[in-house]
Each structure stands twice: as C-alpha cells, then as structure tokens.
C-alpha cells in the first residue's frame, strides 16, 4: 500500500522535477531569492526548490494513503524519494556528462546553460553530483512524509476528541488580540483608522514607480468591485465588461482632449458624464442581451465588448474617436489652478474612488436590491415567483457595474494622458473576471486581495521576465485546485438576534454548521 503510492508519487514528482530543471526554473528561484531577500548567491534558491520538491513528493504520497501507520508512511516516503532521486539523478548525470563532453545543450533547450547545470552539480563530476541530488531528494521526501504523517495524526486526534475541524479564520480568532479586534467595534475602527493613515502617508515614501503601480491596482479594484456586482451578486457572466471601461475612458478623452473635438471640458465635469454614459451604455447593451442566460450571455457580452473596441478604431469613426491612433493629451484634473495629474495625486484620487466603490457595494449587498440580485443568482425562476422583476434587477446590476467601470475608465484615461483601442482588449475583461474569482466571488476584501495578487504581484515578479506568464498561470491553476472558493470568500451575514430563551437550541446549529467548512 505504502510502497505503491510511494512509487507512483515518486514517478510523478520525478517528471515534474526534471521538467522544471529543463526549463530552468531552479535558476529562476535562485535569482528570485537573491533579489528579494538579498541572498548573496543563487545556490540557496536552487536547492530550496529541490528540497521542496522532495518534501512535496513524500508528503503527497502519505496524504494519499488511507491507513495510518508510521511504518507505511516512512515506506511511502522512502519509495517516493528513491524513485524521484534515482530518476532526477540519472537525468542530471546525463545532462552533466553531455555538457562535459563539450556539447552545448542550448541548441535544443535554451535554458540549459553551463551555469544552470553547474548550479545543480556544484562543480562535482557527473556521478557524485547525481548521487548527491538523489540523496537530497530522498532525505527531503522522508522529511516530507514524516511531517505529513504527524500532521494527519494531530488532526485525527482532534477529531477523535470531538473537536470539529476549524477553518483558518477560526484559528486566527483563537488568538486573543485578533478576536478582540474583530469583536470590538471600537478597536476595529481604530485598526481601520490606522490602516487609512498608513495609506494616506504611503505616497510620500513610495516614490513614482510604486505610486503608479498601486494606482493601477486601485483602478482594477474599482473594476473588480463593479464586475463583482454583475457576476458575484447578480450571477450574470459578463465577458465584455471592458466595454464600459472604454466608454468611461473615451468620454473623458474626447471631452477633455484638444483633438479631435476641441471641447476641452474640465476633468471634473467630464468625470460624472463618463460615469453616467457608462451606466446608460450598460442599460442599452443590457436590454437586448439580458434575456439570455449563462453561457449564451457570456458569449453575447464577449461579442459586444469586441464590437466597442473595433468601433473605436474603425476608419469610419476616426473623425469622432481618433481611430487606431487613439486620443492624446487627455485632460488632467486641476484643483485651485494647480494641475494635479501626476501619480502622486492620482493615488489619492483613485483611493477615493476605491472607498466610494466599497461603500456602494457594501450598502447594496444587504439591501432589498442586493438580496434580489443574489436570489436571482441562486435561482432565477424562484426569484421571479417571489415577486422579483428579474429584467429590471438585471439592468440595475448591469448599470451599477458599468458606472463603476466608467469611473475607473475615466480616471485611467486622464492618468495616462492617452487612450486608444489597444487599452480595451479582451484580456482586460478576463483579468478583471480572474481577479474577482481568485479573490472570492461576492466578497469585497476578496476582490481587493485579488486585484493585488493579479495586478500587483506581476509587478513584483518583474525579475522573472519571460517566466512571468508561466508562473502566473501556474499560480492560477494551483489556486483553483487548492482554494476554489477564492482567497477571501464571502462570509455570511449574521442577522438573527440572539434570544435568551433559545440558549439551549443554539447548540444544534453549531454542529450542523460543520458541513460548511471548506465548502
């Protein structure tokens, strides 16, 4: 039993490890650790990856076994480690001897430089090097197996004692300081206050580059909160959300730029117009489209999103929209005669937009309107039978989502001083949808976290260059497997008032609530 799972897991782990080495991910880890933690050499990162992969093999092998026994666990860990170690060692032996013979592997595998292989052989001859990496993997796999076995035992013991499984959130609440803050509205406010002050003084210390990047994250937070209303609350899968972003941006651009219209309106006037026009666009697009459901809606909105972009660069409309070359010199906000159109001021400006979007979402979520949206998401037919005029509420959701997109679009165009068709490609819609899903659908902190992970993290991963997309894709896949509900899923509202006469009955639901952990 332990042997079989161990061998299987060892094979899988060996393939993964060899693959990662062939595409040079170990060097990447080395460089990443160098630049993030100022490690002087790249070998710690390289070998950290090797050790982690070994531990992963051992731990997974134990996790897949049903019967719990230390003997079995160590057998599984050892067999996984031996297989993984032998195969990876053999691969390294091959690579190292070929390189030693003077063949440049980069002809076929462009990451297989001498340094890349040297980081793994550590200057030894091929055979001892292969033995060394095999040994490291075996020890790591055993350690991983032991760690996993212990963890599973602790958990089983807790269950046997009748303690129910608790979520990470409840774990955190067990820490006195955290439960104090989360239960006491005053300390909660103080915490939010401190956080706000930090945010307010941050731009003074961060410098241009990070102010700009945080601003971008903020723009995506607004977009995410808007799409969250449409997808997360109302359950309408809109893949053409970028269209409303475009309407906001183009309204700002065309009304404030000297070309092609000479209107040169003030930023402050163009902003509300952009928001209103985006909302109107939401309703106009919504009327024909919202009679469809699910997949059909997704495809039709996708089409509309592309139509807006193609229209904006069509030759026919060049005189009106600026065509493929876009609109330059978009107006900046001016306050008391001062141009405040730089990253520093825009940071605050976007922050206000984000706070506004949060307030709007929070107030709507638990109102009659928000409940109607969520009821529609859960079961459209039944919500109709409960008296909800679904067409009206769908249009409202579309209009609210579009208005927020319009707001962020208008800010976006002004901040960049430029806007053009290439700002509104399908990828924007997909990015926003991804951040809502990764963060946790229907959850405000989830969307904010999602925006940081999806727009902020790629900036931090700049060192990865070509690997950015790869690492990012892998992260998304892992995320969806490990935590499909999102990083910070929506929580339930507590509406039932505690009533003293029910004291003993309240115990019952607590047990039932168990089924919900991890669901």
């Amino acid at each position: 039993m332990g042997l079989r799972t161990g061998i299987r897991m060892g094979l899988i782990a060996a393939i993964v490890t060899i693959f990662l080495i062939l595409i040079g991910v170990h060097m990447l880890m080395g460089r990443l650790l160098q630049s993030w933690f100022r490690v002087p050499a790249h070998w710690p990162g390289v070998w950290l990856m090797v050790v982690l992969l070994g531990m992963w093999a051992g731990s997974r092998a134990v996790g897949q076994m049903k019967a719990r026994s230390w003997g079995n666990a160590l057998l599984a860990g050892a067999s996984a480690g031996i297989i993984q170690g032998a195969l990876v060692g053999a691969a390294l032996y091959l690579l190292a001897s070929i390189t030693q013979a003077g063949v440049d592997l980069r002809t076929w595998l462009n990451q297989m430089s001498k340094e890349s292989i040297g980081a793994l052989t550590l200057g030894f001859a091929p055979l001892p090097a292969a033995g060394f990496i095999g040994g490291v993997l075996l020890v790591s796999a055993l350690a991983g197996a032991a760690w996993r076995e212990r963890r599973l035992r602790v958990r089983a013991a807790r269950l046997a004692r009748g303690e129910r499984m608790i979520s990470l959130r409840e774990h955190l609440l067990e820490i006195p300081a955290i439960s104090q803050v989360s239960n006491n509205p005053l300390s909660r406010r103080v915490l939010i206050g401190v956080f706000m002050v930090l945010l307010l003084i941050a731009p003074f210390f961060l410098g241009q580059y990070w102010n700009y990047n945080l601003g971008t994250v903020g723009i995506y937070v607004i977009l995410g909160l808007g799409l969250n209303i449409v997808v997360g609350m109302a359950g309408l899968l809109d893949l053409g959300y970028v269209a409303f972003f475009a309407v906001g941006a183009y309204t700002m651009a065309l009304l404030t730029a000297p070309q092609p219209h000479h209107i040169q309106m003030s930023f402050w006037l163009a902003l509300p117009i952009g928001i209103v026009l985006a909302a109107v666009a939401g309703i106009l697009l919504g009327i024909p489209v919202l009679r469809m459901r699910g997949d059909y809606l997704a495809i039709v909105t996708l089409g509309f999103g592309e139509i807006i972009r193609i229209l904006s660069k069509s030759d026919v409309l060049t005189g009106f929209t600026g065509g493929p070359r876009g609109v330059r010199n978009v107006g900046h906000p001016v306050l008391f005669g001062k141009d405040i159109g730089n990253e520093f001021y825009f940071f605050y400006f976007i922050l206000i937009g984000v706070i506004l979007a949060i307030i709007i979402t929070r107030r709507l979520e638990h109102s009659r309107v928000g409940r109607a949206w969520r009821a529609m998401r859960e079961d459209e037919k039944v919500s109709q039978a409960m008296g909800i005029y679904t067409l009206k509420y769908k249009l409202m959701a579309f209009a609210m989502g579009a208005a927020l997109a319009g707001l962020s679009g208008a800010i976006f165009a002004s901040r960049n001083s430029f806007t053009g068709p290439e700002d509104f490609v399908l990828l924007v819609s997909i990015n926003v949808l991804a951040l809502v899903i990764v963060g946790g659908m229907g959850s405000i902190p989830g969307v904010i976290l999602g925006a940081f992970v999806l727009k902020g993290l790629p900036e931090m991963l700049r060192e990865l260059e070509d690997y950015r997309v790869l690492v990012f894709g892998a992260l998304l896949v892992v995320m969806m497997i490990v935590r499909p509900q999102g990083l910070w899923p929506a929580s339930r509202v507590q509406l039932e008032r505690p009533r003293p006469e029910l004291a003993e009955e309240v115990e019952a639901p607590a047990e039932l609530a168990e089924g919900e952990v991890g669901s």
Partner: protein, 255 residues
C-alpha cells in the same frame, strides 16, 4: 366567495396536451387539493396559475383580476405564493435572507434608498427583519436563522420554504407535494400546520399531493386530474368512491 377561478384552461407542449380545458373554482378559505397520477398535469396547472406558462386557451381569474399574460412577479405581488415539489431555496443565502427575499413584493426601497441609507429604507429594513424573526419562530426554525439554506436538514428546508412563501403575505398559497419525503409523524405535523395557517392567517390553500392520508385528512374539496383532464371533483368521500378515479389510479378492471 370564489377566490380563484379557472375557466377552460388548456396548455399544450407541441402536440402534447398537458392540461385540457380544466375548470376549477377555489372558494376563499378552503383547502383545495388536486390529485392525479404522475404526468396528469398538476404541476403544469400550477405553472399556469403562477405565470410561468401561458395557457393557449381559457381564463384564470384571481379575486377579479385576470392572470393570463401577467408576469410571475406581478402575480406574486397580487398575493399568490408557492412552494416546489423538489425544494428550491436560495442555497447560498441564510434562512433569514430567504425569508427577506420572500417579502420582496411587500417592500419598496430601491437603489437610492440603499445607497443613501434613507430613514425610510432603514425603518423598512428593520420591520422586515422583525417580521422575518416572527416567521422563523412561526415555522419553528428559531436558532437556524443565520445558517445557509443548503446546510439545513431536509425537514427544516421544507419549513423554510413555507416561511418564505408566507413572507409575501399571500392570500392564496400553492403547495406542490409538501409531504414528499416525510415520515408519518412529520406528515401529521405538516397537516396540523397547513390547517393552522388557513385558520390563523385566513389563507386559501391549493395543494398538490400524492399522500392520500394528507389529501383525505385535510381537504375541503378534491379535484382529480388524469391526462390533463379533470375527471372528477367533490368532497374527499365522494372522490374516493368515484369509479373513474379508481380506474385512473389502479387501471381498468379494478373498479
């Protein structure tokens, strides 16, 4: 007084006549049961009344208002609520939220009220929450209010569905097989509960049910459908002895 009148209602799906020229007169304050074998058209009739299907012919009059051509939400606002054969709750909303959604057509606040937290909206929400608590108590779900509907056990889900239907303050309540999947004791409680909402809240109840003990135990009038046609109507006693009913249920020769 007749609160709901069906006059030659016919509903076809392609060539299949699901409901064929059915007449019904449901007196106010009565418990009116519709029975019949599977596929007799009972649920189709419910869907015609609640506006999900539009009948090809016939009239449906509720308290003087013609329902044909109205949207389901308009019909709900007139005072008709329903439950479903296979429970259909809003799973990822809490029990209380389900009841609050049930009150939708009795509440007024819209976008502006929610965005600006107008005093009127806050008062309305407060009252709605009070009422939700009352209904939670009424159906015996106190203490379960903050649980997601899909986490409730089966019996509680049935009760929550009833509470949600009652939240819209209906005058006519349509129950589609409420006793499905219940044990004899639960069925007994359900029958008492149906009588109680009729007597205390003054509701009229239209019931689809397979459990003959329920039908015979609480109905004032029973109508029998077979292949979309009404084959008989009367008191439980009359219907039980009708040869056409026995034939429909047990086949020819049994009568």
């Amino acid at each position: 007084m007749i609160i709901l009148q069906l006059d030659h209602v016919t509903k076809q799906f392609g060539g299949l006549v699901a409901v064929s020229s059915v007449d019904l007169e449901v007196p106010q304050g009565s418990i009116f049961s519709i029975i019949g074998p599977n596929g007799a058209g009972k649920t189709t009739l419910f869907n015609c009344i609640t506006g999900f299907y539009r009948p090809e012919a016939g009239r449906i009059i509720f308290d003087g208002v013609s329902l044909v051509g109205l949207r389901p939400d308009q019909i709900a606002a007139l005072g008709i609520a329903r439950t479903y054969q296979n429970i259909r709750l809003f799973g990822r909303m809490t029990a209380i939220e389900n009841i609050l959604v049930g009150q939708h057509s009795r509440l007024k606040s819209g976008l502006a009220g929610a965005l600006f937290r107008l005093p009127r909206t806050r008062r309305e929400e407060q009252e709605a929450l009070d009422k939700a608590h009352q209904l939670l108590d009424f159906v015996g779900l106190s203490g379960y209010g903050d649980m997601f509907a899909h986490n409730l056990p089966y019996g509680q889900q049935r009760r929550l569905e009833l509470a949600r239907a009652l939240a819209s303050e209906p005058r006519l309540l349509l129950l589609d097989e409420p006793a499905a999947g219940m044990n004899p004791k639960e069925t007994e409680e359900l029958m008492a509960f149906i009588r109680r909402i009729r007597d205390e809240l003054g509701l009229t109840i239209l019931l689809i049910e397979h459990d003959m003990r329920v039908v015979m135990g609480i109905s004032d009038i029973v109508a029998v459908l077979d292949f979309g046609e009404k084959i008989c109507e009367g008191t439980p006693q009359e219907v039980r002895c009708n040869p056409r009913v026995i034939e429909a249920y047990l086949g020819k020769g049994a009568a």
